[in-house]
Amino acid sequence: MSTIDTPGERKIVTFSLGEQTFGIDMASLIEIREWDEPTPLPGVPSFIKGVTNLRGTVVPVVGLAERLGWSPSVIHARSCILVVNIAGKQAGFLVDEVADIVLIKDSDIRPAPDVEIGEPSVIAGLVKTQTRTADGTNGSDSLMVLLLDLDALSLTRQLDIAA
């Protein structure tokens, strides 16, 4: 899992949610698991779908779509949960489909314009990546990826606000 960081470069995992492609820092990712109905929790905001068992640890599962203020994702065969580490806490994010792992240059990240998604602060920046064809070569189209700021998505902070 460990990636050797070259200064100025980083690996991101891209995934789709609705019509958009998002990316998160590879370093924050713990694992990608199949969707499995979590145990619902009472008295929590609706974007928290419940808790699931990650090797003996109880981890909350968050509907990222709801978290961003969209309508809930429809569960389908390629739905999966990205388990990430946010400031020492673990959380799973329900996403529509994991797309790719790409290497980006920090210098390629553009500051986020006022994107109409929940709070703008959850978007750390924009980056353009090349789409890849099935044989792994770079395609001609470029794809815009919204980089998520996981710290801003931090659950406890959100719950503090909600409480």
């Binding site: 145990t39 619902p40 009472p42 808790v51 003996g56 109880v58 909350p60 806490k89 719950l159």
Partner: protein
């Protein structure tokens, strides 16, 4: 880098806490009359290491205060000040201030006012530390490097058959957990020590000191240690340059030198060892005594100590620089010259090897082992008994259970940690109330989960206070009742099955049930015509609302914060039992779970979802008949139970689960639970699946405490069931939000 420093600071403060505990234990023992050299030395060592660490981290106030404290301790240790009750009392006060100073250094409290205590300490030094040459036929060791101490004064008890040096041969092998694997660890210092010839005292010490290669990188400065040894009149005899590379290969961050230093024999070996308190891990430190052909003239009147005693009592300190807490370093402390006679030969026990592990790592291990157990039971579910045997699953299961037990035991600590502050508290209470009280403690080695120990401190304080305030009568009353004037409080702990029983028993007057009942009626806790058994009346003193502050003075029975005791103990999943015999005394028993990690629970279903109901709350289960549960309002219901009406809650509504609001009660079960805030309450559940022990997983580790939930657990099939926090679920929502959060965090 600053993070690293913070980490080291955190370790320092951990060590401070341990040091303070050791100092307190020692001081309490001294206060109780144990002024033996090992006890005094343990206090000295604890304060000394706090001072050293404080200096290293630049806590000036803490350093200054602990230095003064240490000076007095050193004089007492050297026998120049007698540990009279007066001196001990000042030292107990100094200990309190020292604790406050540590808290200040941690940023937890303001700067304590230490002027009064400092003055008292100075006064002791001024009167006791004055040298008395007449009584000093032989030099007495001044075994410290603290520069302000008057050396060479007389031990009051010197003479007789005392060995004025009190030296034993010593070999120190500083081979701690070597992070780099450079040093062999399997070296038994005893072999060397026992091989040393026994004699009255060495004429010199040969100290070999080779800092670990990485000493400089670790931030330690070997030269400072050499300078300190020079202050002890040490002379560098040789410098080992063998490891020194050619100049072009020289790494300035690398430590290449080794020193051989000769220190005069009158310097205490402990003073030499003290210099190595902050030596880098992996360094070699050897202190070897050098003996003359015959014992040096020492002015001993009595025949020399038989060699056997010396052989049996060599102080061998295998110091683990990073690992061993101070008290363990202290175990084989040498016998000092203060004693009237040499202490009987003690069999030197090997110092316990220990390492410091973060609790988080233990919990992670516990998690993973729990998971292993669950996977094992899933496997067992899927395999027929025959197949299980074939793949030797039972053996595997047994092994995993054993691993689980072992990991749990790692979190266990002797309950002594909670008991240790009782003697001191009792002393203070005794002074406050003017009652003479004797404390008998048993079972302090009983081991219990560290988390439980941390949380029974308050209840224990209340129980002791209660026993003194309301249990033990005044001396006059006791004498009139034919009892000894001195009251007795017995504090005991024992393990019974998966529970730990902690008892506080007094031999006082017992609970005055008539008055308790009258008070309870007056307070509206019970109805005036209620028929109650003695046990039920005794339990009243734990009722909230009964024991508010203004009733204490009016009640001659009991009631100081006993509801706090009950709620704290119940928050731990335990309960409190009271038994009282009029005229004979009262016994409070805390029945505590062995561990916080496991809970005995009932697996119930609510709207199909499984939940765990802590068994500690459950009173009984009722299969209601038609009409037994009656609606009172549109949402409220009660169940009729033997002539009483108990409110019934539908948790499905509280949780917003499913749509079984309209389910008929006779198709469900009602579980009657006992709560502190709402008394008996019935909970409507679909079914009871099982009754079993569950491993508690906290929700707030990755999320946030959630109202009504005490945590979660992972069931045999790997799915998660939520643990109900009954108190928070049925209690008034608005009044106890803070308490609820605390409970959520505790789970």
């Amino acid at each position: 880098m600053s993070d690293e420093l913070d980490d080291i600071q955190a370790i320092f403060f951990e060590e401070c806490a341990e040091g303070l505990a050791a100092a307190e234990a020692g001081l309490s023992a001294m206060d109780a009359g144990d002024v033996s050299a090992p006890t005094i030395a343990s206090v000295f060592r604890a304060v000394h290491s706090i001072k050293g660490g404080a200096g290293a981290f630049g806590h000036a106030a803490l350093t200054a205060f602990s230095h003064c404290f240490e000076n007095v301790l050193d004089e007492v240790r050297a026998g120049r000040i007698a540990p009279s009750p007066g001196v001990t009392r000042v030292m107990l006060q100094a200990f309190d201030v020292l604790s406050d100073h540590v808290a200040f250094a941690q940023g937890l409290a303001g700067l304590p006012h230490d002027a009064v205590v400092l003055e008292a300490l100075d006064a002791i030094l001024a009167q006791g530390g004055a040298p008395d040459h007449a009584a000093a036929p032989a030099p007495t060791p001044a075994p410290t490097i603290a520069p302000t101490i008057t050396p060479m004064s007389a031990a009051p008890t010197a003479g007789g058959d005392v060995d004025p040096f009190g030296f034993e041969p010593v070999t120190v092998a500083l081979e701690p957990l070597d992070p780099f694997g450079f040093e062999p660890i399997a070296h038994d210092p005893f072999d060397d020590a026992l091989a040393e010839p026994a004699a009255n005292g060495p004429i010199a010490w040969n100290v070999r000191f080779v800092p670990s290669d990485a000493a400089l990188a670790n931030g330690s400065e070997p030269l400072l240690i050499v300078r300190e040894l020079e202050l002890l009149e040490g002379v560098v005899e040789a410098v080992d340059l063998d490891a020194l590379p050619p100049l072009r290969d020289l790494d300035p961050e690398h430590s290449y030198f080794g020193w051989t230093i000769r220190i005069p024999g009158h310097v205490a070996e402990e003073a030499i060892l003290d210099s190595f308190d902050f030596v880098a891990p992996g360094s070699i430190v050897e202190v070897t005594p050098e003996y003359a052909a015959r014992p040096a003239p020492t002015g001993i009147v009595a025949p020399p100590v038989p060699p056997a005693a010396d052989v049996a009592a060599p102080a061998v300190v295998a110091a683990q620089v990073t690992a061993a807490p101070p008290p363990q370093l202290e175990k084989p402390a040498p016998v000092r010259a203060v004693e009237d006679r040499p202490e009987p030969a003690r069999v030197a026990e090997p110092p316990q090897q220990s390492i410091r592990v973060e609790l988080v790592k233990l919990d992670m291990l516990l998690n993973l082992v729990g998971e292993l157990v669950i996977r094992g039971s899933i496997l067992a579910d899927r395999l027929s008994p025959k197949d299980q045997e074939r793949v030797e699953l039972p053996q595997l299961s047994r092994l995993t259970r054993e691993i689980q037990d072992t990991v749990m035991s790692l979190r266990a600590q002797p309950i002594r940690q909670a008991f240790s502050r009782v003697p001191r508290m009792l002393r203070d209470l005794s002074a406050e109330t003017g009652k003479d009280i004797r404390l008998e403690t048993t079972g302090e080695t009983t081991e219990i989960d560290k988390g439980v120990i941390e949380k029974i401190g308050d209840p224990l304080t209340h129980m002791i206070r209660n026993a003194v305030d309301h249990g033990i009568e005044s001396a006059a009353v006791r004498l009139a009742a034919g009892k000894p004037a001195e009251g007795t409080i017995r504090l005991s702990a024992e393990q019974r099955g998966a529970r730990i029983l902690v008892r506080v028993a007094d031999d006082g007057g017992g609970i005055d049930r008539a008055r308790v009942f009258a008070k309870a009626v007056e307070k509206g806790v019970v109805a005036a015509d209620a028929v109650m058994t003695d046990e039920e009346i005794d339990q009243l003193i734990c009722a909230p609302g009964f024991s508010t502050a203004d009733t204490i003075s009016n009640i001659s029975g009991r009631g100081v914060g006993m509801d706090v005791v009950r709620s704290n103990v119940e928050a731990l999943g335990g309960r409190v039992e009271i038994s009282s015999t009029p005229g004979k005394g009262t016994t409070f028993t805390m029945i505590l779970p062995l561990t916080l990690a496991i809970l005995e629970g009932m697996i119930v279903r609510l709207a199909g979802q499984r939940f765990v109901l802590p068994l500690a709350n459950v009173v009984e289960t009722v299969q209601p008949e038609r009409g037994q549960v009656k609606p009172t309002t549109t949402t409220g219901e009660v169940i009729e139970l033997r002539g009483n009406y108990v409110p019934v809650r539908r948790l499905t509504r509280t949780f917003g689960l499913g749509d079984n609001d309209t389910r008929r009660p006779e198709e469900s079960l009602v579980i009657i639970v006992e709560t502190e805030t709402a008394g008996h309450v019935g909970l409507l559940v679909d079914t009871i699946d099982d009754r079993r022990e569950v491993v508690i997983k906290s929700l707030d580790r990755n999320l946030h405490p959630i109202r009504g939930l005490g945590g979660a657990t992972i069931l045999g099939d790997g799915s998660i069931a939520l643990i109900l926090d009954i108190e928070a679920l049925v209690g008034p929502a608005t009044q106890t939000p803070n308490r609820y959060v605390t409970k959520g965090l505790a789970a």
